[in-house]
């Protein structure tokens, strides 16, 4: 079991107040595959009692969640310029 939070703690995020990704809960509910739970390299999609929990704060802005979502439930955009992930060594 990998604790993804420990990895995210190594990364600098300049978090904007407004989320850049929104999940449509209704569309998400009907999905029984939920690839986002596996695909997100930051582990930002988690299930709690069948309910999708999502946080945008540790997002790498890779875009994988959006293109694998079978229900188009993810409204994806980049954060405002200057905000979001900021790699220093990558």
């Amino acid at each position: 079991m990998v604790i993804i939070q420990e990895k995210l703690d190594l990364v600098r995020f300049n978090v904007d107040k407004e989320p850049h990704i929104r999940v449509n809960r209704e569309a998400c509910k009907g999905c029984d595959v939920k690839p986002c739970v596996y695909i997100c390299p930051a582990g930002l999609f988690t299930l709690s009692d069948g309910e999708m929990l999502f946080s945008y704060e540790g997002c790498f802005e890779c875009g994988a969640c959006c293109i694998t979502c079978p229900r188009d439930a993810i409204e994806w955009n980049y954060p405002r310029g200057g905000y979001g992930v900021c790699f220093r060594a990558a």
Binding site: M1, Y38, G63, A64, T68, G82, C86, F87, A89
Partner: protein, 435 residues
């Protein structure tokens, strides 16, 4: 509103900075937009920068001032089974003098430096600004709209160097949404290790470096591979896996990375290192088949945005294609500027230049490679078969020895592979990579 520019370059990665640098040197008024706090702050690669000739032409002896980590003199391809590994190890002293064959770099440092060269040449670098949309006049792109108040920027031409997700190419209708079968996702850690330890562990001297590519059970049943590159005083280690395959197998890629790091052949190499950073990025891997339409009226698409990436199992490159494609785009724009014609017809010269350069020639020549690499046997069976065959070949246990062919055929039978199948895959592989 801010004044009009000759060229608007969106994205200050290697492609964007190349275009901005060439155009600014030609005396054009260039604005270079970057959505990160600084160029490179959103960028991730392995990162091995090959094909340095073209960069050397732009900035002679760039390695003397650029933040490059190590020049590459050794390249290792390793097949991995859960317990063993089998490597092809190439090294040469021919690559250890200028202009060198390749370097490892760390993108936040390298991209920042490269953008500063474009800036020195006269391009206006505007970081922390995301371009959301194109501005149209009829069917002509005449600018971009940034997500700031009064954020419109007008220009004769827009060069979209906005990366694998290129929202601009999509807005212009040049390409469709990405397909999970066309892209991979890469995760990577930079692990600090002192220079002396790196030199000892990897048998290196001075600033020489090595890249390792791994195939086989690195990624379990998922299609993909691993890599390990040496930097000056750190290692870059990562996994690149097919998006569709991760979805199908329901595997988390960061767990693959941890397993990879603890493999008996890898663990001794990264032991005692301190993880400095974790990162992730998508890679356009489908090659020739996913290349979008490359230009329209007032718009050119370069680098990852145009899916200019070569992934064949032997080669895994992107930055050199980014730089070369952007150079071709810049040449096209220079000429369009001289004629005062930025129509699709005038910009079509971009494609012709690319066809003459290694960019489209390589991608076309290796157009079968992505399918070949996606062969399930190649991904998950052969590497392990190779390791097992080597094991039975080298095992000494007091019983009579068999000759190599016997060993290999026996191993194929054991792994339920027919000779016919193997030959067919070999021919596929040959057509994809060899002839």
């Amino acid at each position: 509103m801010i004044g009009k520019f000759d060229a608007i370059v969106v994205g200050a990665g290697p492609a964007g900075s190349t275009a901005a640098l060439i155009l600014a040197r030609a005396g054009l008024k260039v604005i270079l937009l970057e959505r990160g706090e600084y160029p490179g702050s959103k960028n991730v690669s392995g990162a091995a920068l090959y094909g340095t000739r073209i960069l050397h032409e732009l900035i002679p002896n760039f390695w003397e001032e650029a933040p490059v980590e190590r020049y590459l003199t050794r390249r290792v391809l390793t097949f991995i089974s859960p317990q063993s590994s089998f490597s092809l190890d190439f090294r040469t002293t021919n690559f250890d003098q200028p202009p060198y064959n390749g370097f490892t770099v760390l993108r936040p440092k390298f991209d920042r430096w490269f953008a500063s060269k474009a800036q020195e040449a006269g391009a206006l670098l505007v970081p922390a600004t995301v371009a959301d949309d194109l501005i149209w006049d009829g069917d002509m792109v005449v600018g971009v709209r940034t997500r700031r108040e009064d954020g419109e920027i007008y220009g004769d031409v827009v060069i979209a160097a906005d990366g694998v997700n290129s929202l601009l190419a999509k807005k212009a209708g040049l390409r469709r949404d990405l397909d999970a079968r066309q892209v991979s996702i890469g995760v990577k850690e930079v692990i600090a290790l002192d220079r002396k330890t790196i030199e000892e562990r990897f048998n290196l001297q001075g600033d020489a470096g090595v890249t390792y590519e791994f195939a086989g059970s690195v990624t379990g049943q998922v299609y993909g591979g691993g890599f390990l590159y040496t930097n000056s005083d750190s290692l870059s280690i990562g996994i690149v896996a097919k998006l569709a395959s991760l979805v199908e197998k329901q595997v988390k890629i960061y767990e693959l990375l941890e397993e990879f790091k603890s493999h008996p052949s890898i663990e001794p190499l990264v032991r005692d290192g301190v993880v400095k950073e974790y990162s992730a990025h998508m890679v356009p891997e489908a090659g020739w088949r996913m290349i979008p339409k490359l230009y329209s009226n007032g718009l050119l698409v370069v680098g990852d945005a145009a899916a200019f990436n070569l992934h064949t199992g032997i080669f895994s490159e992107g930055m050199n294609y980014a730089i070369a494609s952007a150079a071709a785009a810049a040449e096209t724009v220079k000429q369009a500027k001289a004629k005062g014609d930025f129509s699709s017809r005038s910009l079509s010269r971009y494609r012709r230049l690319l066809e003459r350069s290694f960019v489209l020639q390589d991608l076309k020549r290796f157009k079968r490679a992505p399918d070949f690499v996606n062969n399930p046997r190649l991904q998950n069976v052969y590497p392990i078969t190779i390791c097992r065959a080597a094991e039975s070949l080298f095992k000494v246990e007091g019983s009579p020895r068999r000759k190599v062919a016997k060993v290999v055929l026996g191993q194929l039978r054991e792994d339920n592979l027919s000779l016919w199948q193997v030959l067919r895959d070999a021919i596929d592989g040959g057509r994809a990579l060899i002839w």
